[in-house]
C-alpha cells in the first residue's frame, strides 16, 4: 500500500462520510466514520490490505451493522425518553428519511454504491464482498421499496 493512512483517509473521507450518512443518517455519520476508520487502521491486517478503499467501505458497513444490532432496543427506549438533540437536520426531506428508514443497512449500502459511486453490480459485489446474485437481489428489493415511497 503506497499511501500513508492519513493520505488514504483524506482521499476517501468525503465519500465514506456520505456512505455513513446513507447507512445511519446524517446525525450519526461522523461518529460512525470515526469509529470505523480508527478500527480499520488500527487492525493488524491494515498494512497488508490491497484495496484500502474497499476495506474502509466494508469497515463502515460493519460498524453500521453493529450499531443497528446493538442499539435496537436502546434506541426505542431513548427515542421515547431522550431530549430532542439527536434529530436529523431539516435539510433532508421527511419522505427521504422515511424511504431510507425502510431499507435495511445492507440494502442502503448497495444503493449508495450503485447510484452515488456509479459502480456496476460486479464492482459493488467486489467492494462489499458479496456474490453478484446477492447484490442484484438487494438492489432489486431496495428499488421496489423506494419506488413506492419516492415516486
Amino acid at each position: 500500500m503506497g499511501l500513508s493512512a492519513e493520505e488514504v483517509y483524506a482521499k476517501h473521507a468525503d465519500e465514506l462520510l456520505r456512505f455513513a450518512a446513507t447507512l445511519v443518517g446524517p446525525s450519526d455519520a461522523e461518529d460512525l466514520l470515526s469509529s470505523a476508520v480508527l478500527r480499520a487502521m488500527s487492525a493488524a491486517s491494515w498494512t497488508s490490505v490491497k484495496s484500502p478503499r474497499a476495506y474502509l467501505f466494508r469497515s463502515v458497513l460493519n460498524e453500521a451493522r453493529q450499531l443497528a444490532r446493538s442499539s435496537r432496543r436502546r434506541l426505542l427506549r431513548e427515542a421515547r425518553a431522550a431530549v430532542p438533540d439527536a434529530v436529523d437536520p431539516p435539510i433532508v426531506r421527511p419522505e427521504v428519511l422515511n424511504a431510507v428508514a425502510k431499507l435495511s443497512v445492507d440494502q442502503r449500502a448497495v444503493v449508495f454504491l450503485t447510484y452515488w459511486c456509479d459502480l456496476t453490480v460486479e464492482e459493488v459485489s467486489d467492494t462489499l464482498g458479496l456474490s453478484q446474485r446477492t447484490t442484484e437481489r438487494r438492489l432489486r428489493s431496495a428499488r421496489t421499496v423506494l419506488r413506492r415511497l419516492l415516486l
Binding site: 473521507a13 461522523e30 431522550a82 428508514a101 452515488w116 423506494l146
Partner: protein, 395 residues
C-alpha cells in the same frame, strides 16, 4: 422521462440530501477526538436518564411495596389495568425464600459482594462479559457488567483519579485502567420489565459507589484472572431450546438469539419486522425464576403500542414483550401473544432443575504458576472432578 429514469433520479437526489446534511468529513487528526466525544456524549445522555430515573427508582421501590416484606406475601392487586384475561395459572404463589444455589465462586464474586446495596442478593455471577446479577425482595434487579474487551474512553473519571504511566490511579492507590479501557456498567431494572430504571456507566462515582467500587477493585493482580473466568453452564439449555422452537412456530417468526441472564433466567428474542427492512419491532420472551418478584398479569400500553404479557408458572415469571418498530405498529396481536404464552406455560409447569449440563467442556493449557487448586477454582470444579477430567488419580 420514463419511470425508471425518474426513480434513479429521485434516488440520487435522496442520497445527495443525506450526504450534504452530514457536513464535511472530520480531518484525520480529529478522528480520535470525534470517537472519544461520541463515547462521552452517550454517557452524558445516560446521566440525564439517570437523573430522572433516580426518582423512578425511589418511586418504583415504593410502588413495588405491594410486596409485604414482613408477611412475605404478594398483593394480588394489579398496578396497571389488565387487558388480557387472567387465568387460574396466574394466581400468585406465596413467597418463599429464594431456593437458588449460591453463585459459582469466581474472582468477580468476591469483588461484587461488598458492593451490592443492602437488601440485594447476588444470584448469578458469570460471563463473558463478566456479569453479576442481584435481586432485592421487591423485584428490583441490579446487573453489573465489566466488559474487559470494550473500547471505552478512560477520560471519564472524576478528579479523584489521576493519570500515571501505568494507567488511571485512584486516591487509594489502586491502578484502574490501562489505555485500552474497560466498560463498567450497573443497570437497575425491574425483573421482567423492558425498561431500565438507571444505567450507570464509565466509572462515575454514583449509586453508593457501585461503579467506582468495581473500577477500583480491578487491579492488575486480579484483572487477568477475572477476564479468564467462565461461568459454569446453566441447566436450562433444553428449556431454552423448547421455548425457541415453540416461539418460532407459534409466531411464524425467526429467532434472533437467546441469552442466559441468571441462574435460571434467560430470554429469547424474535425479530418481528419484515426480513428486508430496518423495522425495529421485536418480541422477547423472558423467563425469570427469582422466586421473589411478581409482576401484574399483563400490561398493555396503548400510547406506545407496547404489549407486555406475563404469566406465573411453577415459580417462573414468563414475560412476553412486544415492542413496536419504526412503523409504530404492533407486529403481533394480543391474541397471538396470549396463544404463545399458553403454549409455553406447560414447559415451565413440568420443568425441574437438573443442574449444570455436562456439555460445557473446556481445555486448559497448564502454564507456569498454575496449581491444581487454582485450576479447579477457575472452572468451579472439585479436585476429584479435575482429576477425573484429566484421567489420572488425584495424587
Amino acid at each position: 422521462m420514463n419511470r425508471v429514469d425518474e426513480l434513479d433520479g429521485e434516488i440520487r437526489r435522496a442520497l445527495n440530501e443525506l450526504g450534504d446534511a452530514a457536513g464535511p468529513a472530520p480531518r484525520f487528526d480529529q478522528l480520535e477526538h470525534q470517537h472519544n466525544a461520541s463515547s462521552s456524549s452517550r454517557s452524558e445522555r445516560r446521566l440525564l436518564v439517570l437523573l430522572g430515573a433516580t426518582a423512578l427508582v425511589v418511586a418504583g421501590l415504593v410502588g413495588l411495596a405491594v410486596v409485604d416484606r414482613d408477611s412475605a406475601e404478594i398483593s394480588t392487586e394489579p398496578r396497571v389495568a389488565a387487558s388480557i384475561p387472567t387465568t387460574p395459572q396466574s394466581v400468585p404463589p406465596t413467597i418463599s425464600s429464594p431456593a437458588f444455589p449460591p453463585p459459582a465462586a469466581s474472582p468477580l464474586s468476591e469483588i461484587v459482594a461488598p458492593l451490592v446495596p443492602d437488601g440485594f442478593t447476588v444470584l448469578y455471577v458469570g460471563g463473558p462479559p463478566q456479569t453479576a446479577v442481584a435481586y432485592d425482595q421487591s423485584g428490583v434487579r441490579l446487573e453489573m457488567t465489566v466488559d474487559m474487551d470494550a473500547d471505552v474512553d478512560p477520560g471519564q473519571l472524576g478528579d479523584e483519579f489521576t493519570d500515571t504511566a501505568d494507567g488511571k490511579v485512584s486516591a487509594d492507590g489502586s491502578t484502574l485502567l490501562t489505555a485500552q479501557g474497560d466498560l463498567i456498567r450497573a443497570v437497575f431494572s425491574i425483573a421482567g420489565c423492558p425498561c431500565e430504571l438507571a444505567v450507570l456507566d464509565d466509572y462515575r462515582p454514583l449509586s453508593s459507589g457501585i461503579v467506582t467500587g468495581l473500577a477500583t477493585a480491578l487491579t492488575p493482580a486480579n484483572r487477568s484472572e477475572i477476564g479468564d473466568f467462565r461461568s459454569s453452564p446453566i441447566g436450562t439449555a433444553d428449556l431454552r431450546a423448547a421455548v425457541s422452537t415453540i416461539t418460532e412456530s407459534s409466531l411464524d417468526a425467526t429467532i434472533e438469539g437467546e441469552r442466559v441472564v441468571g441462574p435460571e433466567d434467560f430470554n429469547v428474542s424474535v425479530g418481528a419486522g419484515p426480513a428486508d427492512s430496518s423495522d425495529t419491532s421485536m418480541l422477547t420472551v423472558e423467563a425469570i425464576r427469582t422466586g421473589t418478584a411478581r409482576l401484574v398479569d399483563d400490561i398493555t400500553d396503548a400510547s406506545t403500542g407496547t404489549i407486555v404479557a406475563t404469566r406465573w408458572v411453577n415459580d417462573w415469571q414468563l414475560v412476553v414483550t412486544s415492542l413496536t418498530g419504526a412503523d409504530q405498529q404492533p407486529s403481533f396481536t394480543t391474541t397471538q401473544i396470549e396463544a404463545l404464552i399458553e403454549q409455553l406455560s406447560p414447559l415451565f409447569a413440568d420443568w425441574t432443575n437438573t443442574g449444570p449440563t455436562q456439555s460445557g467442556c473446556a481445555t486448559h493449557t497448564v502454564v507456569k504458576g498454575d496449581s491444581i487448586m487454582s485450576i479447579a477454582q477457575r472452572y468451579s470444579i472439585t479436585l476429584d472432578e479435575l482429576a477425573a477430567a484429566k484421567g489420572s488419580p488425584r495424587d
